[in-house]
C-alpha cells in the first residue's frame, strides 16, 4: 500500500534550543484523503506542518520526508509550493487593501513582459472563485468581505498554485457554523477533484464529519493514527490527545443565584464608520449575582460589539440606552469609568486586544489595576511580584516565573494571564468573550473551573461563545443575539443546540419575511425574552 501514500514523514525530530518540539514523529497521508491532525496546543502540530512546508528548512530538523514518492529537502516555502504543497495558516495571509484577484495571484502574477494582464488575472480569479463557491466580484477589496469569504479566497489562491496537498491550520476557528459547513463541503469537493488535505482542528465534531483518518500528536510525539471509517467517537480522540479518558468536558456546577446585578436596557449601537448601520438594536439583558449568563449568536450578530460598547464605549458610535448596576443607573463613557463601576471585559482576541505580548506576566496581570499597587503614583514592585505570583499559582499558569514574556506562552496560559488581570481588578461583572478560543481541551476545563469560581464568589459572568456545547455546558441562562437583536433568552434546563440555533437565526428571517412593523417594533425582541422567562417559571 506504500504507493497509495502521497506523503510520508518519517522520524521527524525538530529541536529548538532547550526544547524538543518534535520527537520521532511519523505521518503517512494517503492520496486523496482528508487527514486530520489533532493534539493539544503546543503538542507540535503546527511545527510539524512548518517542517513539511519548508518554513523550517531542510537541515534544521532530522528525519525524512517523501512526497509523491520523491524525497523532499525544501529550503523554503517556495520550493514546497512548487511541488504542490500549500499551507494556509490560521492567521490569513491576505492583503486587506488589495482586490480578491490581486490576492489570489500575489507573488504569482499573470503578466506579460513584466506588466500585469488585468483581464487574464480577473478572469482566472473569477473561475477560481466559482470553483470554491464564492460569489464575489474579483475586484472587490479583501477587507470588504467577511472572514469566512477570506478563507475561501485563501483556498482559491492555493488552487491557483496547482495544489496537490492542501494544509489548513485551524481553518474554521474564526468561522460561524454556516461558513464552516460551506468550507467543509468545499474540502469534500476538492477531495473528489483529487486534492489531498491535511486539516489541523480543535473542533472534533468537524474532524468526525470530514476526516478519513486522524493522527494524534501529544507532547511532540505521534501517538496514533485512527481510521475514521471505523466510527471513532469524539471522546476517543480526546482520550488520545490528553492521554486519559475525559469523562466530563464541563465541570459540575450549581450556581447560587442572587439579586439582579447588572442590566442593559434598550441598548442601541451604530457602526463607528458607517453611522447609519445599526449593529446592536434595542438590546435588553440582565445578569444576576452568582450567575453565568451566555450570549450566543452567529458571526456578525453583534455579540462582541454589544459587549465592547457596554464596556466604556470601546466600540461603536451614537450609543443609546441605559446601564444599571444593582438597580442604580450608571454611566460608563470610558473604559476607565466602566472598570471603576466594576465591569471587566476579557477580549476574544488576546493577542491584539488583551495582552502586551512583549511584556512579562507580572506587568500584564497588574495592567488594569495598577493603582491598587501604587501609592501617590509610584508602583510597589515587590507587592506586584507577590500578586502576580499568587495568580500564577492559583490559576496554574505554566511558566517558570512571572517574569516570563507573555508572547512565549501557549494560548491557554495567555488566557489565564488575561483572566488573572481582570480578577485582580476585582470587578463585579465579567464579560468573557470567547474565553476558550484556540485553547486545548485540558486548559478549557481549567478555564471553566475559574468561571465557576468567579460565579461562586458572587460575581456575574457573561460568556460569549461560538461553541454552543460550551454555552450549554457552563451557563445558567443563555441569550441569543441575531443581527443586533436579542432574539431569545433560554434557561439552561430548556436549552439545546437546536433551540439556540433557531433563535440565533430568527431575526434574519423576520427581517426579510415579516412585515415592516414587526421589525420597527422594538418590543419584538423583548417579547421573546419574556416568553422564555415565563417558560422558566413554569
Amino acid at each position: 500500500m506504500v504507493d497509495d501514500q502521497i506523503l510520508q514523514m518519517r522520524s521527524i525530530t525538530k529541536e529548538f534550543p532547550g526544547v524538543k518540539a518534535l520527537q520521532d514523529v511519523s505521518l503517512s497521508v494517503r492520496r486523496q484523503e482528508i487527514h486530520a491532525i489533532c493534539g493539544e496546543n503546543g503538542a507540535g502540530k503546527s511545527t510539524l506542518m512548518k517542517v513539511l512546508s519548508g518554513v523550517y528548512p531542510h537541515g534544521t530538523y532530522s528525519g525524512e520526508i517523501y512526497f509523491d514518492g520523491q524525497p523532499c529537502e525544501f529550503a523554503d516555502i517556495r520550493q514546497s509550493e512548487q511541488r504542490g504543497i500549500v499551507i494556509i495558516h490560521q492567521e490569513l495571509a491576505l492583503s486587506p487593501y488589495l482586490s480578491i484577484a490581486e490576492n489570489i495571484f500575489l507573488g504569482n502574477e499573470r503578466s506579460r513582459r513584466g506588466m500585469i494582464d488585468w483581464n487574464a488575472t480577473n478572469a482566472a480569479a473569477a473561475a477560481l472563485l466559482e470553483r470554491v463557491g464564492l460569489s464575489e466580484n474579483p475586484v472587490t477589496r479583501v477587507m470588504d468581505i467577511g472572514v469566512g469569504k477570506q478563507q475561501l479566497v485563501e483556498i482559491a489562491k492555493a488552487l491557483s498554485k496547482d495544489v496537490k496537498l492542501l494544509i489548513l491550520d485551524e481553518p474554521t476557528a474564526a468561522l460561524n457554523d454556516v461558513d464552516s459547513d460551506h468550507l467543509l463541503g468545499l474540502l469534500r469537493g476538492l477531495k473528489e477533484e483529487g486534492i489531498t488535505c491535511i486539516i489541523i482542528s480543535h473542533k472534533l465534531n468537524e474532524i468526525k464529519a470530514i476526516a478519513d483518518s486522524t493522527t494524534i500528536i501529544r507532547d511532540g510525539k505521534s501517538i496514533e493514527t485512527l481510521d475514521m471509517a471505523t466510527g471513532v467517537s469524539e471522546d476517543r480522540i480526546i482520550k488520545g490527545m490528553v492521554g486519559r479518558e475525559l469523562d466530563n468536558r464541563y465541570p459540575e456546577h450549581t450556581s447560587t443565584i442572587g439579586e439582579e446585578l447588572f442590566r442593559i436596557e434598550d441598548w442601541t449601537v451604530h457602526h463607528p464608520q458607517h453611522k447609519e448601520r445599526i449593529i446592536v438594536d434595542h438590546a435588553n439583558l440582565t445578569i444576576r449575582r452568582g450567575e453565568i449568563v451566555g450570549l450566543a449568536g452567529l458571526m456578525g450578530a453583534g455579540r462582541t460589539e454589544l459587549a465592547m460598547s457596554v464596556f466604556g464605549r470601546a466600540y461603536g458610535a451614537s450609543i443609546t440606552g441605559r446601564l444599571y448596576k444593582s438597580g442604580k443607573q450608571i454611566q460608563a463613557r470610558s473604559v476607565r469609568e466602566a472598570i471603576d463601576h466594576g465591569l471587566a471585559y476579557a477580549t476574544e482576541d488576546r493577542k491584539v486586544y488583551g495582552l502586551n505580548l512583549i511584556e512579562d506576566i507580572k506587568r500584564n496581570i497588574s495592567g488594569a489595576a495598577l493603582s491598587k499597587l501604587s501609592t501617590r503614583g509610584w508602583v510597589d514592585d515587590g507587592k506586584e511580584f507577590e500578586v502576580a505570583n499568587s495568580y500564577r499559582t492559583s490559576m496554574n499558569i505554566k511558566a517558570p516565573t512571572v517574569l516570563s514574556i507573555t508572547g512565549k506562552l501557549s494560548g491557554g496560559n495567555q488566557q489565564k494571564v488575561v483572566l488573572s488581570k481582570w480578577m485582580f481588578a476585582d470587578p463585579d461583572v465579567l464579560i468573557l468573550d470567547e474565553p476558550t478560543r484556540g485553547i486545548d481541551v485540558g486548559a478549557k476545563y481549567e478555564i471553566y473551573l475559574i468561571i465557576n469560581k468567579l460565579a461562586d464568589e458572587g460575581k456575574g459572568v457573561l460568556v460569549i461563545s461560538s461553541e454552543l456545547p460550551e454555552l450549554l455546558g457552563i451557563c445558567d441562562r443563555i441569550y441569543t443575539l441575531s443581527a443586533g437583536h436579542i432574539t431569545g433568552e433560554v434557561p439552561r434546563a430548556e436549552a439545546s443546540q437546536e433551540i439556540l440555533m433557531q433563535y440565533m437565526t430568527r431575526d434574519q428571517r423576520t427581517l426579510t419575511d415579516l412585515p415592516a412593523e414587526a421589525i420597527e417594533d422594538p418590543a419584538h425582541s423583548v417579547q421573546v425574552s419574556e416568553t422564555s422567562i415565563d417558560l422558566k417559571k413554569g
Partner: protein
C-alpha cells in the same frame, strides 16, 4: 554614566530555567547590557587609537558638556519612542526656545530665572500643541512633528528677525559653561593615580553617588530575594558593583582634576535619576510602556491612552526647551540655526540605546549611553582627524548596526 547605573531597573539576571523563557531572558539581559559593553568597547578602541587622549580630564569633561543637550533630548525622545511615536521637531524647538531665551533675557532684560521658567513653560505649550494633534486628533506623530519641525524653525526666524542675539549674562552662560570648583578646597592626588590637584567637592559627590548606587542596588537585591525572585550570584553582583564604582570614581577623578563638576552634568544626573524612576516605578511610566507594547490592550485595560500620550509630548516639549537653554548658554548665542538636525542625534541615541522601533521597549539609561556612544565616536574621530564625511558614514553605520542587532536578536529568540 556616573549616576545612571544607580537607576538600573529591576530586571534580574536571566533565571536558570529551561526552554524558551531562558532564551528570552538571556536576550533581554544581553540586549540591555549590550549597549554598555558596546560603549566601553568603543571607548577602549579610541583610547588605544588616540593614545589615551580621549581619556584626559579635559576631554572627558568636554564629552559631557558637548553632548549634554543631546542627552537631555534623548531622555524625552526615548519616552516618546517607547510610547510608539517619534518627534522630529525637537531640533527646531531647541532653536525656537533658545531664540526666546535670547529675547526674554538679553533683549527684554528679564531676570535669568524668570526667563528660563518662561522658556520652559513655552516648551510645555509647544509639546501640548503637538500632543493635542497626536493624542486627541489622531494624526501620526511623524506628520505632526514634521510639521512642527517646519513651524518652529520658521518661528525661530520670526522671533530672531533673521539676526543673532548675544551675549547672554554670565549667570545664564553658567548653566552650560559653569563648574562647581573649589567649593571645599582641593586635595593632592597620589602619584599612582596620576598626581596633580583635584577638586574635593566633586570627589565627595562622586563618592556619595557610588554609595547611593550600592545602597539602592543592595536594597533592590534584598527585596528580590525576599520575594523569591531569581537573582544573579552574589559574586557577580559584587563584581558588577565594584566595576561600576571604579568606573564612576575614575570618571569623577578626571573631572575633579580638570575644572570640577560641570553644572550641566549635575542637571543631567538629576534628570536621569528622575526619569529612570518615573519610567520604571511610576504608574505613568508603566502606562507608557503598556501603550507602546499594545495600544489596544492598554485602551481596554482602562489606561487613559490619549492623556498619557499628550503628557509624553508635553514632557518632550519641556525637555526640548531645556536643551534649547543649555545649547544657547553653551554657544552664548541665540542663532536661527541653533539645534538644526539635533532630532536625528536624539533619535539615534534612543535607538542605539536599545529602544524598539515598534515601541514598548527602551530605557532612559540606554538612551543616555547611546547618546554618549555617539559622543565618543564624534569626539574620538575628531581627535584622530577623521574626515567629516567619513564621520557621518561611520555614525550612520553604527545606528544601522545597533538596530540590526536588535532585530536580529529578536528573530533569533523567535519573538515578533
Amino acid at each position: 554614566m556616573s549616576t545612571g547605573i544607580a537607576t538600573k531597573p529591576s530586571t534580574p539576571a536571566p533565571p536558570p530555567s529551561p526552554g524558551s523563557n531562558f532564551l528570552s531572558s538571556a536576550r533581554k539581559g544581553l540586549g540591555q547590557s549590550g549597549i554598555f559593553i558596546a560603549f566601553f568597547a568603543i571607548l577602549a578602541l579610541f583610547a588605544v587609537l588616540t593614545k589615551g587622549t580621549i581619556l584626559t580630564p579635559q576631554n572627558i569633561s568636554n564629552l559631557v558638556v558637548q553632548n549634554s543637550y543631546i542627552l537631555i533630548l534623548a531622555i524625552g525622545m526615548v519616552i516618546v519612542i517607547i510610547a510608539g511615536h517619534i518627534d522630529l521637531s525637537v531640533g527646531s524647538v531647541v532653536g525656537f526656545t533658545g531664540a526666546l531665551a535670547g529675547v526674554f533675557i538679553v533683549q527684554m532684560g528679564l531676570p535669568v530665572w524668570l526667563g528660563v521658567l518662561l522658556v520652559l513653560g513655552i516648551g510645555a505649550v509647544v509639546g501640548a500643541w503637538q500632543g493635542y494633534w497626536v493624542a486627541y486628533f489622531g494624526i501620526p506623530a511623524f506628520i505632526v512633528t514634521l510639521a512642527g519641525m517646519l513651524i518652529f524653525r520658521g518661528g525661530t526666524l520670526l522671533v530672531l528677525g533673521n539676526k543673532q542675539i548675544s551675549p547672554f549674562p554670565d549667570s545664564f552662560r553658567n548653566i552650560s559653561a559653569g563648574f562647581a570648583d573649589g567649593l571645599v578646597g582641593y586635595i593632592n592626588v597620589p602619584a599612582f593615580l596620576g598626581g596633580g590637584e583635584a577638586d574635593l567637592f566633586t570627589l565627595l559627590l562622586g563618592a556619595a553617588s557610588v554609595a547611593v548606587l550600592i545602597w539602592t542596588q543592595t536594597r533592590t537585591r534584598a527585596a528580590r530575594v525576599k520575594y523569591h525572585q531569581s537573582v544573579g550570584s552574589r559574586a557577580a553582583f559584587i563584581a558588577r558593583m565594584a566595576v561600576a564604582g571604579v568606573a564612576i570614581m575614575y570618571f569623577v577623578l578626571q573631572l575633579s582634576k580638570f575644572k570640577g563638576l560641570p553644572y550641566v552634568l549635575f542637571v543631567l544626573a538629576i534628570l536621569v535619576l528622575l526619569y529612570s524612576a518615573v519610567m520604571n516605578r511610576s504608574v505613568f511610566g508603566r502606562h507608557v510602556y503598556a501603550i507602546g507594547g499594545n495600544l489596544h490592550a492598554a485602551e481596554l485595560s482602562g489606561i487613559r491612552v490619549k492623556s498619557v500620550t499628550f503628557w509624553v509630548f508635553v514632557n518632550m516639549g519641556v525637555l526640548a526647551a531645556l536643551a534649547g537653554i543649555v545649547f544657547a548658554a553653551r554657544l552664548n548665542l541665540a542663532n536661527p540655526t541653533n539645534g538644526a538636525s539635533f532630532e536625528l542625534d536624539a533619535i539615534a541615541a534612543a535607538f542605539i540605546g536599545g529602544a524598539a522601533v515598534t515601541g514598548g521597549v527602551g530605557r532612559v539609561i540606554g538612551a543616555i549611553v547611546g547618546g554618549l556612544t555617539v559622543g565618543v565616536l564624534n569626539n574620538g574621530m575628531s581627535i584622530l582627524g577623521v574626515d567629516v564625511a567619513y564621520q557621518q558614514v561611520i555614525k550612520g553605520l553604527v545606528l544601522l548596526g545597533a538596530v540590526a542587532f536588535d532585530v536580529y536578536s529578536k528573530r533569533r529568540s523567535g519573538g515578533r
